[in-house]
């Protein structure tokens, strides 16, 4: 394993030191492993917290700031944070208008946030609502299983709903909007290589030179199927087709994100996006806004995911609203 780390068990604590050194506009609670805005938002506004395992940077810590999250709870690498972290963050960020928990649909995340919600309500009386994202079309949904994973739509949701909260909408409105965003977004990911979890010390899986994994999430898990390595045009098809057959994106603007998984350089992401754009155009999807880069990653995995969100004028307005975070920044 070759990584810029000290000891595997210190990765998170050490990385948080770097975050606080690099970002005076953030405040890092190293004990609870929570990243806050240094300057809390105004009283009376709904606060947003998110969190999850580490290794997906800039998600979530890189999205804390004006117009997006109020706090991010950082779990160990690929391991959901613990309820006490969320309880602490919830208490700290509440400005009297309640707190939205943004949770990616993984058994661990859901259970830990659930416990946190129970504890926060009991302890502090803060009103907590929760949105669980589950946009990954690689996974078949079913009431018998854990359901779909929450992936790329989480980034778009944090931006859009963050803008709504900043505007002063109340918790019910914020919750409604967040559910609508989740319902209107779909994602699909693929990997060229495995990642290496620091504590495991070796790649999570072996992938021959001539194969790739289609339908991966963001935890270095193998995908839904292993298929022959293909060119970017063909990969774009394998990512876009399942998204478009899962939801109708016609008749309105869409926001598209192509995120790298951490080990893929920007030149390849742009190249792949070129192919994705061709397919979306062919299918009549009207791309109104685009993000290409590393936004939701899986440590050093090589690969990419595509997220398409069905938008409308209101959503585009909230998308364009000012945001000032380490990972997304415009209008301010």
């Amino acid at each position: 394993m070759k990584k810029l780390i000290n000891k595997p068990e210190d990765v998170l604590a050490d990385a948080l030191k770097g975050v606080s050194e690099a970002h005076p506009e953030l405040r890092v609670d190293h004990q609870h492993r929570v990243i806050y805005r240094a300057q809390p938002k105004d009283h009376g506004k709904v606060a947003l917290i998110s969190g999850g395992g580490s290794g997906h940077e800039p998600l979530h810590g890189g999205f804390v700031g004006v117009g997006m999250l109020d706090a991010a709870c950082c779990g160990e690498v690929f391991t959901s944070p613990t309820p006490d972290q969320m309880v602490e963050a919830t208490t700290v960020v509440d400005q009297g208008a309640g707190v939205l928990h943004i949770v990616k649909n993984y058994t661990g995340d859901v259970m830990n946030f659930e416990m946190a919600g129970e504890m926060a309500a009991a302890d502090s009386g803060v009103r907590v609502e929760t949105v669980v994202t589950d946009d990954d079309v690689a996974v078949q949904d079913s009431t018998w299983t854990a359901g779909r994973r929450g992936v790329g739509v989480t980034v778009l949701l944090e931006k859009i709903v963050g803008a709504a909260a900043e505007e002063g909408r109340d918790l019910d409105a914020v919750l409604d909007l967040s559910k609508r965003i989740n319902a209107q977004g779909r994602s699909m990911g693929m990997a060229l290589t495995s990642c290496t979890v620091p504590a495991a010390g070796k790649p999570t899986f072996d992938l021959p030179e001539d194969q790739m994994e289609m339908g991966v999430g963001i935890h270095g898990e193998p995908g839904r199927k292993r298929v022959p390595l293909a060119g970017a045009a063909e990969i774009a098809e394998q990512l876009v087709d399942p998204i478009l057959s899962d939801l109708d994106f016609q008749g309105g603007p869409s926001i598209v994100m192509l995120s790298g998984l951490g080990g893929t350089p920007l030149i390849e992401l742009y190249l792949l996006y070129g192919e994705v754009a061709v397919l979306l155009e062919k299918a009549g999807v009207q791309v109104a806004r685009t993000l290409v880069g590393d936004y939701i990653t899986s440590l050093d995995m090589a690969g990419a995911s595509v997220t398409v969100l069905k938008a409308d004028d209101e959503i585009l307005r909230l998308w364009d609203a000012p945001v000032k975070t380490a990972g997304l920044r415009w209008g301010l």
């Binding site: 613990t82 078949q140 299983t145 898990e221 839904r224």
Partner: protein, 225 residues
Amino acid sequence: MGTLTGTVAVTESVSVATLVDWLSSFRDAVHEQGTYLTELDSAIGDADHGANLIRGMDAVMGAVAGEVSTVGSAGDLLKKVGMTLVTSVGGASGPLYGTFFLRAATATGDATSLDAAAVLAMLRAGLEGIVARGKAEAGDKTMYDALAPGLDAFASALESGRDVLGAAEAAADAAADGRDATEPLIALKGRASYLGERSVGHIDPGAASSALLLRALADALAAAG
């Protein structure tokens, strides 16, 4: 370590100190088997199950160390264990094992020693907690598939007249069988469910750690003699 049917040593009751030995023995087991647990989790999960339990059980032993004397009751001990797991592990196994011990604590209450029936009640409450939290059913390819047959075997052994050690050993054996039986299953809960058919052919990591948990109980009881 097979079952010891016909052994003469009869364990009458289980002290809080023996429960601590159980935890300590489980801690040792997850350290020893940590790489194996993570390898199982690499195949169908995210390669952290070993690290999660090592972190959790180290925290647990840190929290209960030197406190055996001050921890009055089984309930106090198990509650501390549960809270420590909940606040140090994260992931799926943190709330699940955490809830296991929190519910076990409620079942034992302020007892300072447990007879065989109380041990069974404790384990059952724990498993119910896991089900309440995670909604797993038999055959979903989770820790449930090791724990449930383990507890059934524990109960049957008691019914057929064996003592608590004998019951724990039966439970450990059955849990090991349950763990192995997860191999051909398609995962329906947890992270492995994302793999669908590709989860077939791999042992569930949580079932493997749960088998260790029950084996550790048998070991602690055997050592307590």
